[in-house]
Amino acid sequence: MMDADNRPFAIRHYSPAQLREALKRMYLIRRFEEGAEDSYTRGMIHGTMHLSIGQEASAMATCMELTDDDKITSNHRGHGHCIAKGADVGRMFAEFFGKETGYCHGRGGSMHIADVKTGNLGANGIVGGGLPIAVGAALSAKRLGKSDVTVCFFGDGANNEGAFHESLNIASVWKLPVIFVCENNGYGMSTSTARSTAVPHIAQRAAAYAMPGTTVDGNDFSAVSEALHIAIARARAGDGPSLVENLTYRWRGHSKSDRNRYRTKEEIEAWMAKDPIARFRAELIAHGVLDEAGADAIASQAVADVQKGIEFAKASAAPDLSEVTRYVYAEAAL
């Protein structure tokens, strides 16, 4: 919401340095994913990947008030979450290239990207897989007497898994400090929410589990950060979980094998015109947080960071083939 001077929440609430860093990380997410896409085309990345281009405000604004002690669980579309939570793009590229210096030592790849040290408990190959885990992390915080919160990222498609419903119910009855963040991009793979989900908005599901549910424009950085500010405060105060639904859109196909037969060109272009990064940048300039030159400098820095990251990853060593079974169990126990 705007104040009397027409300043949105984020501009009032965060310092210019924080806002500039947020813009930087949003650019970094975009350039990272473009770099990953390009590396994939060149055959440097194996398998598949799910790009979040177009959803950067949702990832970044959600993580604004999280510290490294706060946890997130992420999903298959998790590159943005990982960078927003503070990961280093060099180690991310290294993981995508299957290198030992990668966050998962080359064992996980894009779909399992994680950075446990910055509180990212991992992307997930299983739709809905992270939901109960987030509730468990919130249980730990509560029992161990910490003020940490857990943010659980998931998609609109995941809200039809049993794990979603069981997790929200448990979190509510145990009043746990977890925020369920649904990134509703309108589709689970090819299936629209209208065809898969009995309610028009995922946030309506919150009523069934007696927690607050809010739907926001997920491409509006400020709106997302405000919704999370409220939900995080509630969680830290011990008042229990919330559900926040960020309405957004993925510009790219679901994965590398999507032929886009279920969306129109017009729909995709209409959403591309609502670029969350361009919008946030314009907002920061309009409110005097930075000028065009300052924004351009931030954008170029992201390009340089990505280039450096790719170089680091390329130069890194691959895992030793004799270590296929390493990390299956704790080393000391063997």
């Binding site: 080359g106 064992r107 790849g109 779909m111 190959g125 049993g162 065809r195 032929r259």
Partner: protein, 342 residues
């Protein structure tokens, strides 16, 4: 691909060439044409055509009432298929990846497999589960598993593993004709492979293994993609005068005891190759079956198993490749076995 065709249909010499995916699609279309109670259910099987394009255009031919995109709800979706099968429909339920069947274990194992028995034979669950499986696609630990042996442990289920387009079609039609729940593990790397496929409807018998290559020195039992690797290894071994008999397992439950034991009695050596984790797998069952039979007396070397490493499937492509049997590892194991260096 160098695979001897199925003697049941080998007379059909003018058979067309189709891919494994096309053969499965053709089976579904034939069944849907012939029987209005056959329906397809699964995630993104409609306009998307399925994650591996197996259902491709079936929605255009049969409409969304019969080619049903489910929400991302494996437990619910598979369970609805079980309930529909119990009451007059014949659903073919596609798990997008076989790994996701773990979200539906309750309905598969506690319900579908047991209903007929628990109800004293008064009920039937003629459901078919399609299970795209296996490694080699870089999809890492949660999208690359080979879990067929898990279901071999469940009485009430039938578990199949086609290695050729011809069998992929015939097994799906046989599964539909079968009054009990059948799970068909389709290998993702085989979808684009081609082979002769007879026209029209035919049933590949459930529970029958097939000798794909005859030999006298050693028996290799392998299914799915491992059959092809075993055949390739056998060709190489043949150049050194080692004659390998290669059996396509095809059916994990029921298992074709006779074909395997007959071969072992002839060759006296057995190597079982499978993509699932070696421990507690298909190889354990087959080895024990031989050890418990008269064929044991014919063995002149220990039985060998080759399976996946004792780890989840890794992402890195070289690690991934190293984690499951390949042509060279099969060849090396066979050589050790004939030299009795085990």
């Amino acid at each position: 691909m160098n695979v001897q065709s199925n003697p049941v249909t080998a007379s059909d010499t003018n058979a067309r060439v189709l891919s494994y995916a096309e053969a499965i699609r053709e089976a579904m279309a034939i069944a849907m044409q012939a029987d209005p109670t056959v329906i397809l259910m699964g995630e993104d099987i409609g306009v998307y055509g399925g994650a591996f394009q197996v259902t491709l255009d079936l929605i255009d031919r049969f409409g969304p009432e019969r080619v049903m995109d489910t929400p991302i709800s494996e437990l619910g979706g598979a369970g609805v298929a079980v309930g529909a099968a119990l009451t007059g429909l014949k659903p073919i339920f596609e798990f997008q990846f076989s790994d996701f069947a773990m979200l539906a274990m309750e309905q598969i194992v506690n319900q579908a497999a047991k209903l007929r028995y628990m109800l004293g034979g008064e009920a039937a669950v003629p459901v078919v589960f399609r299970m795209p499986s296996g490694s080699g696609t870089g999809a890492a630990a949660q999208h690359s598993q080979s879990i067929e042996a898990w279901f071999g442990h469940v009485p009430g289920l039938k578990v199949l593993q086609p290695s050729t387009p011809e069998d992929a079609k015939g097994m799906l039609l046989a599964a539909l004709a079968d009054p009990d729940p059948v799970m068909i593990f389709e290998h993702k790397l085989l979808y684009k492979t081609k082979g002769h496929v007879p026209e029209g409807s035919y049933l590949t018998p459930i529970g029958k293994a097939l000798v794909r290559r005859t030999g006298s020195d050693l028996t290799i039992v392998a299914g799915s993609i491992m059959l092809h690797r075993a055949l390739e290894a056998a060709e190489k071994l043949a150049t050194d005068g080692i004659n390998v008999e290669v059996i396509d397992l095809r059916s994990i439950r029921p298992i074709d005891r006779d074909t395997i034991l007959t071969s072992v009695r002839k060759t006296g050596k057995l190597l079982v190759v499978y993509e699932g984790v070696k421990a507690y797998g298909v190889g354990a069952e087959i080895s024990a079956m031989v050890a418990e039979s008269d064929a044991f007396d014919y063995l002149d070397a220990p039985i060998l198993r080759l399976g996946a490493a004792d780890a989840p499937v890794p992402y890195n492509p070289d690690l991934e490749r190293a984690s499951v049997p390949q042509v060279d590892t099969i060849e090396a194991a066979a050589r050790r076995l004939v030299r009795r260096e085990v």
